[in-house]
């Protein structure tokens, strides 16, 4: 899932300072699970902003609510009136949610309340770790199911660098060395012969390096006729 963190309160206050009517919109998907922009976090932020405004003598009207998935137009459309009724929308979704609102209502101001960080997984309550960078060409069947592109600080392709000590990464001694983890996993799977294989230069053209990516599934696209029908229903 997408893992995000809320921006510091001071930065949000500064961003919103010139505006009177503010709508804070959270999202019930990834950012709710990573405790950054779900229902609870929206309520907490709205209260914090109100308290700060009262203390500092600022007058703003601040409302907050959540939508099911802010990155999908259908869910955003349902709250269109509440968005357009404000001077600015503070999105508490990931950047995808914020940009969906921004693209749908380009004249309206939509600001980010979160810093979107990574594709990660919850490891335990309150801990998330990065495991994928979306390079567009998955190789983890050759690396014991562990991605060295995302989990190694240098995205090494052919094994550990010389800075791995006691199984930890030199860049952050709290973090496991990806290649030590790969070694242990391959050993467990009785596939240690794989460490002798040479992995050639990676083709990064499937990643962001190849330019912005748009994926199209022709078989899933609606025909003109179907699109019209859908619009009529809506």
């Amino acid at each position: 899932m997408i893992v995000a963190k809320r921006k510091p309160l001071g930065e949000i206050v500064e961003m919103l300072a010139p505006y009177q009517k503010i709508t804070v919109i959270g999202c019930r998907s990834c950012v709710a699970i990573c405790l950054a922009g779900g229902e609870k976090e929206v309520k907490m932020l709205v209260s914090a902003l109100k308290i700060k405004n009262r203390k500092e003598g600022r007058k703003q009207q601040i409302d907050g609510f959540v939508v099911e998935r802010q990155c999908e137009k259908e869910w955003v459309k349902e709250v269109e009136e509440r968005i357009l009724d404000s001077d600015v929308t503070l999105s508490m979704a990931c950047s995808l949610g914020a940009q969906t609102i921004g693209d749908m209502y380009p004249k309206h101001l939509t600001f980010p309340g979160l810093n979107t960080g990574m594709f990660g997984v919850p490891e335990e309550q309150g801990v998330w770790s990065e495991k994928c960078i979306g390079c567009g060409n998955c190789i983890i069947h050759t690396t014991g199911g562990i991605c060295p592109i995302a989990r190694c600080a240098k995205s090494m392709l052919n094994g550990p660098c010389g800075g791995s000590a006691n199984g930890k990464c030199e860049v952050n001694l709290e973090v496991d060395c990806a290649w030590v983890a790969i070694y242990d996993r391959l050993k467990l799977q009785n596939r240690l012969d794989l460490i002798e294989n040479f992995t050639p230069a990676k083709d990064w053209s499937t990643s962001h390096s190849g330019g912005r990516r748009i994926y199209v599934r022709e078989d899933a696209k609606l025909s003109q006729h179907q699109k019209k029908g859908k619009e009529a229903v809506q």
Binding site: M156, N158, P160, C161, G162, S164, A165, E170, F198
Partner: protein, 305 residues
């Protein structure tokens, strides 16, 4: 001969090689390089110019190489994958070769978090093994990674580094095997303090026949004080410094003298290990000790061709 460098001639003729490291300055002033080149001439077969080591911005290794060549000494340029993608690396290899650089050490590079530009965007398009393979293909067939056939390819003698003291230890010989297969002609190791551990690694290297495929130059660092020994023991990931060495430095009357003596002893031990074809002296900010170490280790005069 692949490149015809002095280092290549020494190693290919079966002589025990000596390389040493010169750290380029953190400025645009070439004077420290000229000073070191004049002081060190004749004491090693080639000198490594580090490539922004520990990710601290320094005078570039290729420019440094040209500066020391003017003084008549041979460079080994270090080229890391941290700051350049495949376009930059291949282009700089052409440039270095055109300027007369013949020895290239392929490294992944220290992460920029350790340096003085911590907010940098790391590149890491390649790792060192991919870099070796790409450079090897270029020199052998003039074929660029992207497929283009080029005229006048860079003729270089290719080196790599390996660290027998980093985890997982069981992978370290296999890593060198991959580097040899990717085109490495020589390998400079991480500084050795734990001799037993190094010998175990060398057993594995000989067991795989790798000492016949790649010339191993054992790395040494002369230690200035007990404090620096302790620092390397406790703070430098991937370095193993046994407690006896820290104690020996601590108990020495004259720590600097003891450090030199220790380094000379280490070189003597390394000379006797089968498959070790040379030493690589990393006298970090202590380059003036290199002549003495080389002399006392009985490595003079250096061969000439």
């Amino acid at each position: 001969m692949k490149a015809g460098s002095n280092l290549e001639k020494v190693l290919e003729s079966g002589k025990f090689a000596v390389t040493a490291e010169i750290g380029p300055p953190q400025s645009a002033n070439p004077e420290p390089l000229t000073h070191h080149a004049r002081m060190l001439k004749g004491y090693a077969d080639a000198f490594n110019l580090t490539d922004n080591q520990t990710a601290v911005v320094r005078l570039s290794s290729i420019a440094s190489a040209v500066i020391i060549m003017r003084e008549g000494i041979e460079p080994v340029i270090q080229m890391t994958c941290r700051d350049r993608n495949r376009i930059g690396l291949q282009s700089d290899l052409f440039g270095a070769a055109a300027l007369g650089v013949k020895n290239v050490l392929c490294l992944t590079g220290d992460h920029h978090i350790f340096g003085n530009e911590k907010a940098a965007k790391g590149v890491f398009d390649f790792d060192s093994i991919v870099e070796l393979k790409v450079f090897d293909d270029l020199r052998n067939s003039g074929k660029q990674l992207g497929g283009e056939q080029i005229k006048d390819p860079p003729k270089t003698y290719l080196g790599c580094a390996e660290n027998p003291f980093a985890t997982p230890y069981e992978w370290r010989a296999a890593r060198l095997a991959k580097k040899a297969a990717a085109g490495a002609d020589f390998c400079q190791t991480q500084a050795i303090f734990d001799m037993k551990m190094f010998e175990r690694w060398m057993d594995e290297i000989r067991g795989r026949g790798l000492d016949k495929k790649v010339h191993i130059l054992a790395g040494v660092i002369p230690v200035k004080s007990a404090g620096s020994a302790r620092y390397m023991k406790n703070k430098v990931p991937g370095m193993i410094v046994p407690k006896e060495i820290v104690d020996r430095m601590k108990n020495a009357k004259d720590a600097k003298e003891e450090g030199i003596r220790l380094c000379v002893e280490q070189i003597e031990t390394l000379k006797s290990i089968k498959g070790v074809h040379g030493v690589h002296i990393m006298a970090v900010a202590w380059e003036e000790m290199i002549p003495r170490i080389v002399k006392e280790a009985g490595l003079l005069p250096r061969p000439t061709f």
